[in-house]
Symmetry: C2
């Protein structure tokens, strides 16, 4: 047993009751204090981050991973801006969600309350340390952070600064902590602390998320695996379709709301595919197609069964020609990850079929899937995108970090 984990979880749990009843003003003051402290500690943060970068280079991490790991003044600026944004958001805690009176006179209020203590398990992006802590605190939750081992020095520095600043502004001691070890077994230990932790949110690769699901005794909110689709139906404005497909694939291919498969109605495949293919190729996208696609786009690689399941997160796209909307829905239902799908069409009836029958967190008509995002949906912030159906689905903001309780006022009612 790792005593650090036991102690930090217990302390967070003990602090949760006190944090839950703090007022909005006090929580906001603490957030402002955190922003100021990060601003003041830039030199320290950057020097600790440098240790991680040097260790990463020695270890042979890919350029992309080093780039994700790297902090600089601009990135610290955007952490601070992020905090200021969260300060400006309404506090979800205390909202009366429902308010009703029963025939026996009982007055029942359903009131929004914090979840309690949340564990966030993530990979090597040190900015998540700030985002996660700040969102949890604003929603009245204690947080136990477990970041990736490659960012350990950066994370320890950042979490230390955050906690110290928060506690000096009245956030209860123990409310924010980081498990400062790099042993993967420690994640399993953390996932067994059901008596202290109310919810676990993993953020990162499918491998990390599956490991958390396999090992957790605590309720998990799954986030982010996205095998998203665009379907170009026969009545589509083909120029619009081209813009949407290109945007959804190319604008930021490494994120979960980018598309991985393009489905094209057979009626317009001959007209649409050569145009979009040229544009995608010019942007460096590799196309893998079904046999009918390859008849129109000779020279592209053949798509295998695995391609339909793939979340490439890269400049690769799988393309399939389908007979109609029904076949598009069938394909997405079978191979998709229920994240985000879009249909480009002018046919309202077909669009209605697509949006009602597809079981995905976000279903679009005539827009890019890249909008599945807390900021784009107007939630003001985002702790992740849920791909499960319990508790929260799609982008999760402050409200999704809360629960509720019933407060019942009587005048002596007993049950008959």
């Amino acid at each position: 047993m790792n005593n650090e984990i036991e102690n930090k979880c217990k302390k967070a749990h003990d602090a949760a009751g006190h944090l839950a009843v703090l007022g909005t003003k006090q929580k906001n003051e603490a957030l402002k204090g955190i922003a100021a402290a990060l601003d003041k500690a830039r030199t320290h943060i950057l020097s600790e981050n440098k240790k991680d970068i040097e260790a990463g280079i020695k270890k042979g991490l890919s350029k992309a991973l080093i780039e994700r790991l790297t902090l600089n003044d601009k990135r610290i600026d955007s952490m601070i801006e992020g905090i200021e944004q969260v300060v400006s958001l309404p506090d979800p805690v205390g909202e009366v969600i429902e308010n009703f009176k029963r025939p026996n006179g009982l007055k029942i209020k359903k009131v929004r309350v914090p979840i309690g203590t949340i564990a966030i398990i993530y990979e090597s992006r040190p900015n998540v340390t700030v985002d996660a802590a700040v969102l949890c605190i604003k929603a009245g939750n204690c947080v136990v952070l477990k970041g990736g081992s490659d960012a350990i020095n950066s994370n320890i520095a950042i979490a230390g600064i955050i906690a110290e600043a928060a506690y000096s502004k009245g956030i209860p001691d123990g409310a924010i902590s980081l498990i400062g070890t790099t042993d993967r077994e420690d994640v399993k230990e953390l996932l067994s602390k059901k008596q202290y932790i109310d919810c676990v949110i993993p953020r990162g690769s499918a491998g990390l998320i599956n490991m958390v699901i396999e090992n957790s005794r605590i309720p998990v909110i799954e986030t982010g695996v996205g095998n998203c689709h665009a379907y170009v139906e026969r009545t589509a404005d083909l120029k619009m379709a081209e813009e949407i497909v290109f945007n959804a694939k190319v604008q930021r291919p490494s994120v979960c709301n980018a598309i991985e498969t393009l489905l094209v109605d057979e009626e317009i495949a001959g007209a649409f595919l050569p145009k979009i293919a040229e544009r995608l190729k010019n942007a460096g996208v590799e196309i893998r197609g079904c046999e009918r696609t390859r008849a129109i786009l000779p020279g592209i690689r053949s798509a295998a069964e695995d391609d339909w399941y793939a979340e490439y997160l890269d400049l690769i796209i799988a393309v399939k020609i389908v007979r109609n909307t029904d076949e598009a829905i069938e394909h997405i239902s079978r191979y998709g990850s229920h994240h985000s799908e879009t249909m480009i069409t002018k046919n309202k009836k077909e669009a209605e079929k697509f949006t009602s029958r597809l079981d995905s967190a976000a279903v679009y008509v005539n827009a890019s899937t890249r909008f599945t995002d807390g900021f784009e949906f107007g939630l003001g912030a985002e702790i992740g995108i849920s791909t499960q159906k319990l508790h929260a689905r799609g982008p999760m903001g402050l409200k999704e970090l809360t629960s509720y309780k019933y407060v019942v006022q009587g005048n002596g009612q007993v049950r008959k």
Copy 2:
């Protein structure tokens, strides 16, 4: 691997997309068909139930368990009435929960949808087979039932009648099934079917619920462990306090929303305890007290540490004298199960402290905890009472058996 489980889960999952889009009228017709079929099959149900009762008596099941297992015409009547009630409830599916437009013109609707496929794992009450199936279907969900082995013949008969009647009225084949084996390993197998099942709801003892949490890879909604409290504060109307405490303990001691511990403010302990003690004793309740309680009620048994944690579900009550509301809150926070608590008081400020600081699904002022119930809260039906904080808390009705998705209408928007 048990092929029956794999096949039934897969069939339910395949049916879920079709059931999700059925209209309210069609679902209600199916529910009425189920009620009629149960009515018609009374003889068959009762003769299958007799097999279970005889096996149970042979096995030496307690009188209480045999009584829970036993069906008769009156109990079948109330199953049928329960179905009629669910028919009359509004269909939660399709409700537009939120509807907003973003500055870029995207129109976003948050629409209520079924969860998908739900597994219900329960002990030996055959009426749960009907309740669970009917509530799941009304909310558009497929259901895989796994009842207790002692009721296996009754459950197979009932589930068979329900499924046949539902399918003949257009519910997709495979939407309702019961795992007809009695091997406990089969529960573990069911809990591994994450690819088919969206949610597991265990109903029954703490042992069953813990087993499900330990073994499930599927999100679980915990239900029902209730170590509930009543706190009689110094300003309480003592007659009202007596009525509430008596009702919460005695009216139905075997259920989760009955109280297990009574906390009494030291200021009124001398006046209150002898009266309530006499009334409880006359109703056959055993009292176990702290030392100060025993000074007022000589002859009662001493409460041990374990008593404060106990969910007796029986005519036993633990009694503790506390200095004030703070100590009552501390005690409940430490030993309680976060289900339901009540405070009897005339002091609004103290009541506000109690309701805001206690982290329980339902917190009452001047009413019995026995009201924590889907029917009493006006939900119209109840699949269980959640004691966790994700997804649903407290009584769960039809709405709590749903999720949501985002349907986004654009006119060519792409992300910058």
